[in-house]
């Protein structure tokens, strides 16, 4: 049922994303679209654990920053290709996430959220105030720059045009969606949903909540890390404030929640609506009426949460799936499964 819904909406989305840069051969649009995909990717990585476990983490930016810094430092210090640095950075983020998650997943609701903020803020403040750590030049709050190699080099993750960056993040987004799809159907996915539904009940059935939440968190941290490394390569600059700061964590959470958490396409829909809204009001009002664009963004956010508490994916799903009852009656059986009706 949900797979087919994902396909119904996802396939045209993918086709549109693939042809967009060829239809609108304007690098501003391609750049903006790449930023939408980047936020969709980051939100999907956040959703990977938070959407399914039902705990709101506002510390995910730390994983993005850790991996971003690792990939840039490995490139500038050791000359290692950012592609490898990206993976190693993701692994480092995952490794750091485990002890953090071990301590924080015992807490529920606002306590989990608060400790996740504390963790990310401690990381950010430490990084901003550390010029050198074990001989590694972190350059504190100044941030790191990626030296241009000149021209296009696939190995160095540097391209002259915007198109390669666009398709890389598109591939990454499809990847994270596929991973979410597999996870949803795996033992891990069912365990997570059971934990979300009733943690004590799940535990009584023999599911170890800490273990499965940690597994999901490590995977999520790894994916978030890849996104952070991508950002560093796209802008050739990374600093603690933007790449580890709470703004990024909030963006990830808000886009997922507005789009529909615990779904494959929800985070992408959230990014697809919110990022352009932010961009549009900024472009039309940012220079004239001070701060008004931020207020409008906030109002859109409030309306979305007010009218689509389950995310904007919910009405789309209702609208697109009744037809499936006639064409594919066998899928209606799964409609009644608890995972569809349980509260989030």
């Amino acid at each position: 049922m949900r797979a087919s819904f994902t396909l119904i909406l996802g396939l045209p989305l993918l086709v549109a994303a693939l042809i967009l840069p060829f239809v609108v051969a304007d690098s501003y649009v391609v750049h903006s679209a790449a930023m939408v995909l980047y936020f969709a990717y980051m939100a999907s990585s956040w959703n990977f654990v938070c959407g399914y476990v039902g705990q709101v983490s506002l510390g995910h930016a730390a994983f993005s920053g850790i991996a971003g810094y690792a990939s840039v430092l490995l490139f500038t210090g050791l000359g290692l290709s950012p592609w490898i640095g990206m993976i190693l950075g993701g692994v480092l983020a995952a490794a750091i996430s485990v002890p953090v998650g071990y301590a924080t997943f015992r807490l529920k609701g606002p306590y989990f959220t608060l400790t996740s903020i504390a963790f990310a803020e401690i990381m950010r403040i430490w990084l901003e105030n550390t010029d050198e750590f074990l001989g590694i030049p972190l350059k504190g709050a100044q941030g790191l720059t990626v030296p241009p190699v000149g021209g296009t080099s696939f190995l160095a993750f540097q391209f002259d045009g915007k198109l390669p960056y666009y398709f890389i993040i598109l591939a990454m987004l499809v990847g994270v969606m596929a991973a979410t799809h597999v996870m949803e159907r795996s033992r891990l996915g069912f365990y997570l949903k059971a934990i979300r539904g009733n943690r004590d009940g799940a535990e009584a059935l023999g599911i170890d909540p800490t273990r499965y939440c940690l597994t999901a968190l490590a995977l999520s941290a790894f994916l978030t890390g890849l996104g952070g490394a991508y950002y560093a390569q796209l802008f050739r600059y990374i600093n603690p404030e933007r790449n580890m700061g709470i703004d990024l964590s909030i963006d990830m959470a808000v886009m997922t929640i507005v789009g529909g958490q615990g779904t494959i396409l929800g985070p992408t829909l959230g990014a697809l609506v919110l990022h352009p809204v932010g961009e549009m009001v900024r472009a039309s009002l940012g220079g004239h009426v001070l701060g008004l664009h931020l207020i409008i963004y906030g109002v859109v956010l409030m309306l979305a949460v007010l009218y689509f508490p389950k995310g904007i994916i919910a009405p789309l799903q209702r609208w697109l799936t009744p037809a499936s009852k006639t064409t594919a009656p066998q899928t209606t059986v799964t409609v009644a499964t608890p995972k569809e009706v349980e509260g989030r």
């Binding site: 903006s32 930023m35 105030n129 002259d160 802008f235 472009a283």
Partner: protein
Amino acid sequence: MIRQILGGTLALAAAATIGLGPAALAPAHAQSQDVVVGFVLPLSGGSATIGNQTKLGAQVAAEQINAAGGIAALGGAKLKLIFSDSQSKPDIGASETERLIQRENVSLLVGAYNSAVTFPASEVAERYKTPWIVTGAVKDEITERGFKYVFRPNNKATYDAREQLDAMDLLKKETGKGPASIGLFYEGTDWGRSHAANIKKFAKERGYAISLDESFPPNQVDFTAQLLKIRASKPEALIVVAYTPDHLLFTRQYFENKINIPFGIHSVGGGSEDPSFYKAVPQKAVDYLFVQEDWQIDRLKTDTDPRVLDANTRFKAQAGYDINSYGAQGISNVYLIKDVLERAASTDRDKIRDALAATDITSGMPLIVGYQRIKFDEQGQNTFGHGVISENIGGERRTIWPSANRAADTKPVWPVPDWSTR
């Protein structure tokens, strides 16, 4: 199934209307004879005050130029300024730069105060071969990348530090007296940390001992513990790096504690450049305070150039206070653009770039900030860019360094009097 996918496509079309909104937004088409200049500035968020001061300064200068007949070499073309908000975020600054170049078809760009925004945003400009004039941002590397389209009239971070010690050296030469040790008290940010590092480097070269090296996280609520450290370490001069809220708190508490620092407090701007700072502290607390900023604060008292006075009248009418450092930089940037356009006689980006590279200004409104000259080296850095250091004497901020900017009747007070005799 096909019908469903069609339905999905329909839903997508609705989303696309939103998604491609910015693309569909009709760019505000300038009249063909206008020269469109894009500004990327922090207009909301933490550094919004500064962004808006630069914006106002730029608007004032454009009003003056347009009223005086525009760009003569382009048949009286008017300057049209387009402002966009970076929100102090690197990615948004880069996206806005992309938009200004692609959508608004700007001839050149100015921005972006925050070094973290300027760094990636000016790279976008370089890629599109669109000239970018740096305003406010001091990060050294901005003009050390071998770029051809990035120009910085203002000073680098290293210049700021060097100038503070230059001023001490100058006063030492004039009076034979000077500090043996310097204390550093700075916020633990990009700005504070890099400034402290530069001071340490120059202090070592010039034989000043560093008696205190103390950083603090921004937005403190109490400086008592730090003031005890300052009192205990007895620096003979203290360099302070702080934005308005911390600078205010520090100044008040320092005043209450009456700590004697014989060669004074040397602030590298930030809070002490902010007009609201002086309204919020008693005059006695800022007596003999040395301030390094990119603007000659006493210029308005001595300058007789009617354009400077007119600019100040216009600025004050909107801001409620006299031109300050960031307002002056906005004015300077726009007059620099006028000079460049007169020489380029074209709105072509490459011709403007070449004219920028050939800039050599030794008089007039572009120098309102207090420089003697604007001339860029091959990296696009104005090597004549410098700050101006003032001392608060008798309730007035008087320029004391460089000596070329010092008024004849300004007598620096050095060393500063003890609290017991004030």
